[in-house]
Symmetry: C2
Subunit: 346 residues, 2 copies
Amino acid sequence: MPTLADVGRLAGVSRGTVSNVFNHPDLVRADVRQRVEAAARQLGYDGPDPRGRVLRDGKFNAIGFMPPGAYAIADVIRSPYMRELVLGVSIACDEAGATLGLINGTDETRTSAIREALVDGFILGHSADIDLITSAQRRRLPFVILESEAGPNVNSIRIDGRSGALAAVRHLAALGHRRFAILSIRRTSGPPIIHIPGRGKGAISAGFQLDHERLLGFAQGLAEVGLSINDVPIIETTPGEPSAGAVVLDRVPEATAILTMSDWQAITVLDEAIRRGINIPEQLSVVGFDGTAESARTTPPLTTVAQDIARKGRLAADMVFANAAPKQIIMPVELVVRGSTARPRR
Amino acid sequence: MPTLADVGRLAGVSRGTVSNVFNHPDLVRADVRQRVEAAARQLGYDGPDPRGRVLRDGKFNAIGFMPPGAYAIADVIRSPYMRELVLGVSIACDEAGATLGLINGTDETRTSAIREALVDGFILGHSADIDLITSAQRRRLPFVILESEAGPNVNSIRIDGRSGALAAVRHLAALGHRRFAILSIRRTSGPPIIHIPGRGKGAISAGFQLDHERLLGFAQGLAEVGLSINDVPIIETTPGEPSAGAVVLDRVPEATAILTMSDWQAITVLDEAIRRGINIPEQLSVVGFDGTAESARTTPPLTTVAQDIARKGRLAADMVFANAAPKQIIMPVELVVRGSTARPRR
DNA sequence: GAAAAAACTTGGAGCGCTCCAAAAAATTGT
DNA sequence: ACAATTTTTTGGAGCGCTCCAAGTTTTTTC
């Protein structure tokens, strides 16, 4: 491949002038410019190689999105939540004229993927993994962590999960519900983990990582009507687990209301209820979490704790582009009451 | 920022050895390795800077997706069709461990975006733009064009649009339809263009660019029942035009069947029909194109010419990764008959 | 214990570019 | 016509890395 120098040689000018022809044409006299352009054409030179520029300038004109934990980048497109998040990021990229890189990384390669990503900054999907954060900091590029606090020196954005969870419980409690089940998120891979108080499995204690906050909200709401979260069955399922609904209906048939941590989980409950002939909301109330577009289209439409997901993505990308002093943003959530919740049957 | 050389100096070894410690640790004696690692830690050196590697090796470990014409990268996430396509691409990237770059480019910056994209190859969304193709060829990287032929030296993948269109017309004709309208795609921006034979607007002639093939299929099917496409009203709307349905219902109220070039267009017809109290399929049959996931979920579910969109994306990415001799692939389509078509009312 | 073999380390070359201060050329003013 | 000014062009420096052939050290073999 020809280089700047080759073109310069043919046109009888220096490398610097050829560079200017492509990057600052106004600095070059018209006749010289034309000579250089002719030489470039003759050699099939199509402009400066970006690799050289990247080394010299250190800029990639790209930001990276690294999906959370066990997500492949295909899952970013598949998951309604991730997709909406990335939509927000991509809007910011469009405005900035930057490329959006979806960074690939398995559990083992994630830290090296961060070390090597060809980006000017990045967004880490929901991830409390301290190694990743350390890696990110070492890279000395602007980055933002989503749904995970990492101290005052790290950009982070998360929703006010506690308030959202509290609002969900209050809504159900006000309707008269007293028998609950909780679908929580399992952060390691594997089958659903079942915590059923007083049935040999022992009460839950802690270790719910990221989702702790939502549990706190649930606990507070339950306490307000005299219940303890320690007496509520909790089932943890991985984010994409399709059997979540079936497991909760099997294991906690007496519940009149199911609290979840994602619309996806709630939708599995809806689907399974239809399969079993359980009417929602007459026989069972279900509350989702996130307010994805999907949640409005289910039958019945889902009552859910909505957040502005796309806006979160936008804000994250804007923080990366701004590259300013670290900020921690907590975004509000809003309980959207739709058709999946009602008074419990007498 | 410290470099390989700094670490080498501190550890008392050469650059090459430090590089080996990070890239080929097995080649380095254990005690030396530890000394180097200690030095790196002390200096806060976190591994070789990818910029240097990129210049040296010329590899980015990434492929780029450049959306068609007037699409911003956010539209790639928004459009069900593009999203499914990119899903296929992302699956291939996951397997290859590569980053997927969504390349940003307005009409003016698209060629330079291609020239500068930090990727090892790319996929050009539907685009017949000759300049873009020339740009892509100059880059001398593997690339694939979607839904656009560019000769035997260029990788391309497209569906057999003509057969699909033919199948759609035959289906409707077999049901007894004889009064058609066609929703075609306008490839420039602007309001719908309306071609209504014998009403002053003149019959259509040509210039339907990319969509010509589907029109050929429609024409053939119409000819089989003694009709000429020159007598069928054709309305061209831009890909995201929300009024497509309204325009066709306004301008061709006598049609009993509407042929479209995308599920999106068909869905606008469905929506507008509901608004006007027109029953589908009893009063009006509608056929979509593409078979997006959405098309199965409308009310009624859409009869559509389905293609395997995700597979197309996968194939495209695989061709880029393979970097083999240019191929032109034509993918089959399949008419999926669902609820939006029926016999016309007597 | 010396020679042969194996294991490890070195440093030069080169990847292609852009910035910048200084030099050269062209233009302006008197 | 020459000095002063403005416009253009130059080429050195340096970005950080990896490969590789050659050199050095260590281990093995007899």
